[in-house]
């Protein structure tokens, strides 16, 4: 019964290790969403750019979660690529331009507040999609 459902089956990106990935993405979708919601609702005027990026992060995590869970490889690939670029750009900006990022977002300082998981997650996601793609290509 081990490793069932891997390969070309629909939802293959959500099987096996992919299921763990979906779980972690779902947690970040919730964490980023809640955080962005509070920031936009209570102090949007303080740092609109930072908080809009925070909201973008939330949207990216939601899209990636749904795409991975339902086996939408292209959408997942796009979302995770945006996520990787986002965490690198926001991570760098939050360190070099502190004034523009007065409050923590999930991507601040490369996700330091979240054990750097936001930095590792897109890399794991892309590796997983690549492995899935190869499995599908062979099948």
């Amino acid at each position: 019964m081990a490793e069932a459902g891997r390969g070309t089956a629909p939802g293959g990106t959500a099987a096996g290790p992919g299921r763990v990935l979906v779980a972690v993405y779902a947690v970040f979708a919730l964490a980023a969403g809640a955080r962005a919601g509070v920031q936009l609702a209570t102090r949007f005027a303080e740092a609109p750019v930072a908080y809009l990026l925070s909201a973008l992060a939330a949207v990216v995590y939601v899209v990636a979660t749904v795409a991975l869970a339902r086996g939408g490889r292209r959408v997942a690939l796009a979302a995770i690529t945006v996520e990787l670029v986002g965490v690198l750009v926001v991570g760098t900006l939050s360190l070099t331009d502190r004034a523009a990022f007065p409050d923590e977002t999930v991507w601040s300082a490369f996700g330091r507040g979240y054990g750097y998981v936001p930095l590792v997650l897109p890399v794991l996601g892309l590796l997983w999609l690549r492995r899935q793609g190869r499995a599908a290509g062979r099948g």
Binding site: M1, E3, A4, G16, R19, V20, V22, A26, A34, V38
Partner: protein, 124 residues
């Protein structure tokens, strides 16, 4: 710890850590999750629900952490996590079900301590 009961917090921490270890162990052993995992998650859920009631009573009694909305959000989220973890892992037919449950348990653990932090945070 105010509304966060020390006994409940430490019990939840211990149970969450044990469930996480059991989950990772089943992945390492290439096995699916079993009754032990479900029982552990159930105990964790009960502890979280009791803690949620304790906190709700404190909130209703007029005690307020500085960021009440965030605190309530975490409180609502944390009681859903073990349930979500069990549901998402039970439909996984491979050994990775244990890791899913471990992730849910570890996030629960972190959130419980975030709740303690939020409650004790200095006002302002």
């Amino acid at each position: 710890m105010g509304a966060m009961n020390a006994v409940l917090v430490w019990s939840a921490t211990t149970v969450a850590a044990l469930v996480a270890l059991a989950g990772l162990a089943s992945t390492a052993a290439r096995r699916r999750i079993g009754l032990v995992h479900l029982a552990g998650a159930a105990v964790l859920e009960v502890l979280l629900l009791v803690q949620a009631v304790v906190a709700a009573v404190a909130l209703a009694g007029g005690q307020r952490p500085p960021e009440t909305a965030t605190f309530v959000g975490y409180l609502a989220g944390v009681v859903l996590l073990p349930v979500a973890g069990v549901l998402w892992s039970r439909t996984e037919p491979s050994r990775w079900a244990g890791t899913v449950l471990a992730v849910a348990s570890l996030v629960t653990l972190v959130m419980v301590w975030r709740l303690v932090q939020l409650w004790e945070a200095p006002g302002g």
